[in-house]
Amino acid sequence: MATIRLVPSTYAVSNSSYAKVTDASNMYHNTDNTTHATLQNTRNSTRNTYYVYIRGFNFDSVPSDAIVSSFTVKIKANESYMSTSSSYRPSLYHGTTAISNTTVTSSLSTSVTTLTFPTGSLTWDTIKGYGANFGIRVPMRRSSTSYSSYVYVYGAEIEVTYTVPVYHSVTITNSTSATVTASDSNPLEGTDVTIMSDTISGIAVTDNGTDVTSQFVHHSGTTGEYTIENRGSYGFALSDGYYVSQNKGVDKTAAVCRVSFVLPVASTVTFTYINYAEQGYDFGVFGNLDTELSTNYYSAGSSGATITDNSYKLACNTSTHNQSTTQTLTYSNVSAGEHYIDVKYSKDDASADNNDTLQFKVAITYNEAVSYYAYTITNIQADHAIIVSPSGGGGEQMYVKVNGAWVAVTAVYKKVNGSWVQQSNLSSLFNTSTKYVLRS
């Protein structure tokens, strides 16, 4: 987990004649800064309102593959003889377009204060997409035409908390006739990987040198299994056979979970659900296969909540899907391999109705009956070398001593006709009439 504070680098004004900024570079800092830029409404004839847009946050400082878990926008400022009416509070803008529900809840005061902006349903992807056009709008309206009035800005920032994904490799070296596959050969650190084999008879399997043959579990039949992982502040809990959203009665929240499964063959995934809530305002959403749903709730206007996720399979925001009885949603012909489906129940800004929940259960049906053996590597933290060898004499694992410790050899190459060829049979690797010497 890492945190970075993005700072602005430029500004724009709504009126170049009456909105003046001096010492602008002083506000191109985070909110720890102690020197200020001065923003002034110079018009003393009438009480017009002028604006300064503080922009140019360095989004490129966040690694492009970072997974952002949270972000907070702040400004450190105070005022002198400015109007502090709630109508003239700073808020977040895209260009000159207001971003809904992002006005600070307290006005600027004569004391230097760091204010945090509500982000409403604003997502990181959205704010990042605004790029250089994203900014903080600071209104300047004189409290009286008689007074020179100022806003002093010490700094502004977007504090971003993120993780950079780490991937590992899972390699399979198979010198048998068994068909052995990994659900993911390049898994994200912390995830699970399943090794599947069509047989366990006559083979020995090692995982980084440890014999795991006995850990393979036989699976057969036509139905599959899945796991549920809650995401964000609220999730789903199992009750009477259904997973039930846990944000009942909590406005401005979303319960989100991820249904994960590994399919040995193409399959049908069926959700049986009850979505019975405040129609159009509080509702469930089922994501597309392998497509993430945000953990944000959907804010509502007069005609219902606006779905801010760009892609999804089904939103239960109409009377068709807002029912007290069970309904089904089917994902057909999902390919073999590792997949997930995100499920969300969003509650808007206020009110509740009916069950105020989304309940669901999942059934996975293989397109054909299967019989396979599976071994799962959980919470993967390193590369894994899976070696499949004939059992009873052929299951050797080679080790070399490196810096005083024996280390499992994950792959052996032999140079043949000028090219390195990976070897699968350690038993016949060495020529017994040849002397082998170590070179660095």
Partner: protein
């Protein structure tokens, strides 16, 4: 190994080697090698040794093995060499 030798009527026991003057002013050393056991199969190919008075050319094939954490580059090594990836 050493030998018992006779020289101008005198006997000398346990002599491992004889040094003789050379025409150039130096010395030449002749060692007793009768107890050597090496043969061509234990002498590296490309090398030779004298065994019991006979020069023997080696036939022992030498291959290199290396260890590393990445896949070997094609320019590394010779045919028959091994690479152990850890």
């Amino acid at each position: 190994m050493a030998q018992s030798i006779s020289l101008w009527g005198a006997t000398y026991s346990n002599v491992p080697a004889i040094l003789l003057p050379t025409s150039g002013g130096g010395t030449a050393r002749f060692d007793d090698t009768t107890d050597a056991t090496a043969d061509a199969t234990v002498i590296n190919s490309g090398s030779s040794a004298y065994v019991n008075g006979v020069k023997v050319s080696g036939s022992q094939v030498i291959q290199v093995y290396r260890t590393g954490s990445t896949t070997p580059s094609s320019s590394l090594g010779n045919n028959g060499d091994l690479y152990l990836k850890v």
